[in-house]
Each structure stands twice: as structure tokens, then as C-alpha cells.
Symmetry: C2
Subunit: 207 residues, 2 copies
Amino acid sequence: MDIVIPLFDDFEPLDAIGPYQVLGYLPGATVRFVAAGAKGAVADSIGGMRLDVPTRYTEVDSCDVLLLPGGHGTRPLMGDAEFLDWLRRMHGTTRYTASVCTGALLLGAAGLLQGLAVTTHWAAAGELPAHGATYVPERVVRRDRIVTAAGISAGIDMALHLVALLADETTARAIQLHAEYDPRPPFDSGSWAKASPAVRERIRQLG
Amino acid sequence: MDIVIPLFDDFEPLDAIGPYQVLGYLPGATVRFVAAGAKGAVADSIGGMRLDVPTRYTEVDSCDVLLLPGGHGTRPLMGDAEFLDWLRRMHGTTRYTASVCTGALLLGAAGLLQGLAVTTHWAAAGELPAHGATYVPERVVRRDRIVTAAGISAGIDMALHLVALLADETTARAIQLHAEYDPRPPFDSGSWAKASPAVRERIRQLG
């Protein structure tokens, strides 16, 4: 089982590492990062993390699961015809093609979301119609072989769904136990609907 | 605000990257990784991720928050007298000294948990008494300046607590909204108490 996660400069770190943590413990699976730009160092959107990614996407012809993280770095890639063509070809080989956060916009730019109701980061919901898709405010949305997750942390939930699909529910539950994923957020402010006006104002200052 | 996360070979990826995602958006803060061994490439416990960490821990004399991830790589470090001495000295400079998962065992080996009731990964709970500490089966436990989190994914919850302590609750809620941290695990198997016998058996096969 070959699971491929393309990385690019300014990727959102948890978008990629949340699913990597979960899928990395799937027995028989290998999760590997591939560089969507030049191979070598790839920097995240916060700016404190540099990953060494020794494989370029063009070196990969097929995989079982393709998983696209989001982040500001999706923007230039949405205009990269060679990368989008690769996404379409890879999708023809996968069991599941997945996205976290604004990774959905890459699937959209590749034309893979036409006519589908999917999810993405709440702040990017309005961009889906330009790609022929509509937004569903759910945590994880599966449409046949395409699985999309909401923003950033939602990739953890999605990856557990994928483990259940790729292996079985007992394995997914065991990986959840290993990661001690029994979340207890100290606040209840994880969606736009739940956020107070003060929180909505504060988020503009986070940069 | 200087937040330091030591990394070492065989660190558990989400232990470090979950808090990094949250604390990295704290206005005015810088989160940096430092190498607990030689500087340069550091590999995670799953084996698919190599980070370039250009600073060695010995180059850091103080910080506002010290945050220790866990993973198998904590084992050799628990016998590294120079590193443990550095932990003690750093703790003398911090506002908060924190751990995720088996990172607590490093704090314990440094003698910082004597007489405290703290948390760690459920599978490591029995190792705390050797360090003069007792286990509390809670997600996040704060004892004055020492804050411990349960296994792997619990670092996300802990980091939101830390943001509320370091800044304010509105900022913590805004970062939660940014990360769309409104968790919806597809299963309810994230703690030992909730796991079925079949799940407890399966986890032994995950490696």
C-alpha cells in the first residue's frame, strides 16, 4: 500500500502530519512525501519547519492513496499545468484521492471536483464553485473515491475514516487508541458557527 | 516569546507538530525546533519524515516555553546526563515547561516531576513512579509551571491551554477556529478505558 502526500513550500503543517501520523501506522502501508516543486528542502507555512523531501512528484506514476494538504502554497500550484496534469493521472491509479483543508482547491483546479459537494477549510468555502463544486460544512465528506476534509485538524478524522476503508474498523480504532485521540479541546470554538464575534475579529490578526 | 521544541531521532511526529501548529500562530511568538543530538537531519519514529534542524540544544540558554515531544527516541535521551542537565537549567528560565506523551519521561528523568501527579501516554503510565511521579488519566494536567499532556494527539489540546495562559482565551479560541479544531473522530476508541478487547489486541500488531 503506497500512500503519497505531495508537499510544497508554505504547506500547512498539521494538514500533512495529522494524516501521516494516522496512516503511518496502517500495517503494510508506506506513507511518503513527494515534492510538488524542486526536490530537497520544503518549508511549511509557519516557517519553522524544513523537511528534506528527496523525491519529486514526477518520479511517481501511481499510488493507492493520494493525499493533498493545504496551505498558502496551494495558490501557485493551482496554476501549475504540469502538476495538475499529474494529479489527474494519479487519480486514475488511486483507490482514494483525498484532501485536507485547501488541498481541495488543488483537486478542484485539476477538474476532479466537477459536480461534487465536498468540504474544505471554512475560509475557502466560497472558492469551490469556481471549480464546479459546492461546499458542505462537514468534517469529512466522501464521494466515491474522493475524500475531502475540512480545515487543518480535520485530516486526523479523515485519516481514521481512510484506515477503516483500507483495512478495517478495528485497525482504525487501534490507531486511534495508539494516538490517544480522545480529544478534549478546552474551548468550543472550532467552527465558524460556534465562534463569537470577538473570536472572528481576533482571527484576522493571526496572520 | 521564544518557544523551543527539542527533536531527536524517533520522535513521534504529531507530538511535536500538533503543538507547533497551534503555538506557531500565537502572535509575537517564535517556535523553533532544536536538535537534542547532532544538528542536521532528524528522523521521526514512523520513518518517512526528515527535518532539517540547524540548531543544537547546547546553543540555547533560555526560553519562555520548553516543550518536549515523546516517542521511542526518548529512551536513549533518558540516560543522556548532559541533555538532562540542560533540561533542568532551561526549566529554571521558562514560564512553562511542557511535555506531550512520553516526553514526560524526559522531564521525569531530569528530576522535574518529583512528587507531582501528571499525565503521559497511557502505555507509559507505569513508568512515572520510577521518577517520583504518579499518573493522572487526564488529557492535560498543569502543576504550576509544568504542563503535561497525554499521548500524541493530546498536545493539540495542551497547546490551546498554553495559548490561553500565554496570551488570552480569545486568542486561543481564534487559533482553534483557524485550525478548524472541532474534532469528530469517527470512532470512540481514543482511551484505554474505551477500547474493546479486539482493539487492545490489534494495537499490539501496529508496531
